[in-house]
């Protein structure tokens, strides 16, 4: 019996290592290739000809750093707009005895069931002047009804007695929102703010559909076009194509990878509120 448990544990450790390797090998391969002056197919633990030229090219070439800046700007503003709208929506919808609350909720929920579709949306964005304009990303992702509902779920966890005490003290809805709800919801703000940020930063499809102006595209779009559609011949830069491509991938994932170990718990909270509690 005792020996059997040992065997099980051993197998478990081996499976653990295999799963970890499956996830890490592709990422490590990209990282090493981004630092390696010559492209090879072998998996290496360390570059055999170390270089930082790939990253230098990204920082120094306007064609590449402009999209990166666009990604940063749209992510910051998209997250801010998203947080503003979702806290307002979540706060109002969390008021249980608000007359008309159900109707307001249905107005939001209906958009999760039915939508205009790609072309009608495109025509509206065109009218708004958001085609070929990176601010489209801010509005498209800032208005995310699913995250509004998540924020409402968070806010419903705040004890109602706190609201009532504040109301008795003569606090206005706006006052309660700023003085009580927001300070109590730092975890929710971090968690849902991250969801907005990841969505905007990672978006490729919206850019592909709406934006053709090279000064307005984001980094994900630039990266995929470079690697998969052969856009931007790397002969223009004094660095091997493989090195540049891999450095681009690392630059695209670096911001979140750097923050990720510290923020992991907020990401996980978001999922659990969304799926388990509903």
């Amino acid at each position: 019996m005792k020996k059997k448990i040992k065997v099980f544990d051993l197998v478990n450790y081996i499976v653990f290592i295999i799963i970890g390797l499956i996830v890490l090998v592709p990422i490590w391969k990209v990282l090493i290739d981004s630092l390696n002056a010559v492209g090879v197919y072998q998996f290496q633990l360390w570059p055999n000809k170390f270089t930082l030229d790939g990253y230098k090219t990204i920082i120094q070439t306007k064609l590449l750093y402009q999209p990166f800046l666009n990604s940063v700007i749209t992510t910051v503003f998209g997250t801010l707009l998203g947080l503003m709208l979702s806290t307002l929506a979540g706060y109002v919808l969390a008021q249980e005895d608000l007359p008309g609350r159900a109707m307001l909720a249905y107005i939001l929920l209906f958009t999760m069931i039915f939508s205009g579709g790609m072309i009608p949306e495109y025509l509206v964005m065109k009218r708004l002047g958001l085609v070929n304009n990176m601010w489209l990303l801010v509005f498209k992702h800032g208005v995310n009804v699913y995250n509004f509902v998540l924020m409402k779920n968070f806010f419903e966890g705040i004890p109602g007695s706190l609201y009532e005490a504040a109301k008795l003290d003569g606090c206005s809805p706006m006052g309660i929102f700023f003085k009580i709800v927001l300070p109590l919801s730092k975890a929710a703000l971090a968690s849902i703010g991250l969801m907005f940020a990841v969505t905007v930063w990672n978006d490729y499809t919206t850019v592909k559909i709406y934006i053709t102006d090279p000064t307005q595209v984001n980094f994900q779009y630039k990266l995929r076009n470079m690697i998969m559609d052969g856009d931007t011949p790397s002969t223009a830069y004094h660095v091997s194509q493989t090195t540049l491509f891999n450095a681009g991938i690392i630059a695209a994932i670096l911001p979140f990878m750097a923050l990720y170990p510290f923020l992991q718990k907020y990401f996980v909270t978001g999922v659990n509120i969304g799926a388990v509690k509903e």
Binding site: V23, I113, G117, Y204, Q264, V268
Partner: protein, 321 residues
């Protein structure tokens, strides 16, 4: 006249509820706060719905739209490419859903059995990583790894193992119809399995330890405990995950969009990519036609959400929206 109903405050005192008009006035602060939400949702989500009427129009980039009735729908239902896209949408999303759910469950069970907490936490951190990479990045990583060129790792390995002759060209995995789907599923497994475990691990941490103790007393082995305690405890969550995601099968877009190419349309084209190409990537697009296809997609998608919501209410006592 109807009498105002009594309401009980949190202090337990019954008071007469005020008339609706006064209650609305007293709550005006909340309505004002909701205005920015309402305006943005109406502009971004409701205004486009008015454009659905173009499904009945002949609408080209030049010239004015002309009413033509249901011609676009007739054309759509008699177009092979549309049916291929519809079939692919269902097949790719449902297969992906089933496969990644299975891998997530298996990995969760392994994680749950790991006694070493540090090892468990480390692996969790690692396997959540790919979820935060965009589809554009994931597609780029795998197109480099799977590339038939001299720097493609997978083809290099296959040559080292002698599965491909050294002087032969590598396999172009993403551009061959018979390889595209398996590769698509594998990439999905790589990206989403880890993230999928979160919800199962939450369930597993809620299992009453007494169940395992009782199994110990009965002399159950660890495999038996997994089979008779862990898996049954997960069944509800598995059903929940399947229902939640079944509602979204029509949404499949970005993952295919970044990985497909014109060599593999037959196995990879989905409704959304079909709409995209017919609108933006052909010489003479008819926005009326693609609006009609989009309407079909919205209606099927909406119906799925409603159906899944009903199933969810029956199975687990609450809806999904």
């Amino acid at each position: 006249m109807k009498k105002n109903k009594k309401v009980v405050t949190s202090t337990g005192v019954a008071v007469r509820e005020k008339p609706l008009g006064i209650r609305i006035w007293n709550n005006r602060g909340y309505y004002i706060m909701f205005i920015p939400v309402l305006i943005t949702v109406i502009i971004m989500n409701y205004w486009p719905m008015l454009g659905i009427r173009y499904a009945l129009y002949d609408y080209k980039p030049v010239g004015t739209p002309k009413l033509i009735g249901f011609d676009h729908f007739t054309k759509m239902f008699s177009t092979d490419a549309f049916w291929v896209a519809f079939k692919n949408t269902l097949q790719l999303s449902i297969m992906k859903l089933i496969i990644t759910t299975i891998t997530s469950v298996v990995v969760s069970v392994f994680l749950n059995e790991m006694g070493n907490l540090l090892a468990k936490k480390t692996l969790q951190t690692v396997i959540y990583l790919p979820h935060f990479m965009s589809w554009a990045v994931v597609a780029s990583i795998f197109s480099l790894l799977l590339s038939p060129s001299s720097t493609g790792m997978v083809n290099g390995w296959l040559k080292d193992l002698g599965l491909i002759a050294q002087d032969q060209a590598g396999i172009y995995f993403l551009a061959e119809s018979r390889w595209w789907r398996p590769i698509f599923y594998l990439i999905n497994i790589w990206k989403e399995t880890g993230w999928g475990t979160i919800i199962f691990l939450a369930t597993l941490s809620g299992i009453n330890p007494e169940l395992y103790e009782a199994a110990d007393i009965d002399g159950a082995t660890r495999m038996q405990k997994i089979r008779y305690v862990t898996i049954p405890a997960l069944m509800n969550t598995i059903v929940t995950v399947l229902i939640l995601n079944l509602a979204k099968v029509m949404n499949m877009f970005e993952s295919v969009f970044v990985l497909y190419n014109n060599a593999v349309y037959d196995v990879s084209d989905v409704i959304s990519t079909y709409i995209y190409r017919q609108s933006f990537a052909i010489a003479l697009p008819n926005y009326g036609y693609t609006t009609a296809v989009g309407l079909f997609k919205s209606l099927v998608g909406g119906a799925l959400v409603i159906i899944c919501n009903q199933i969810s209410k029956k199975v687990r006592g609450r809806g999904i929206i």
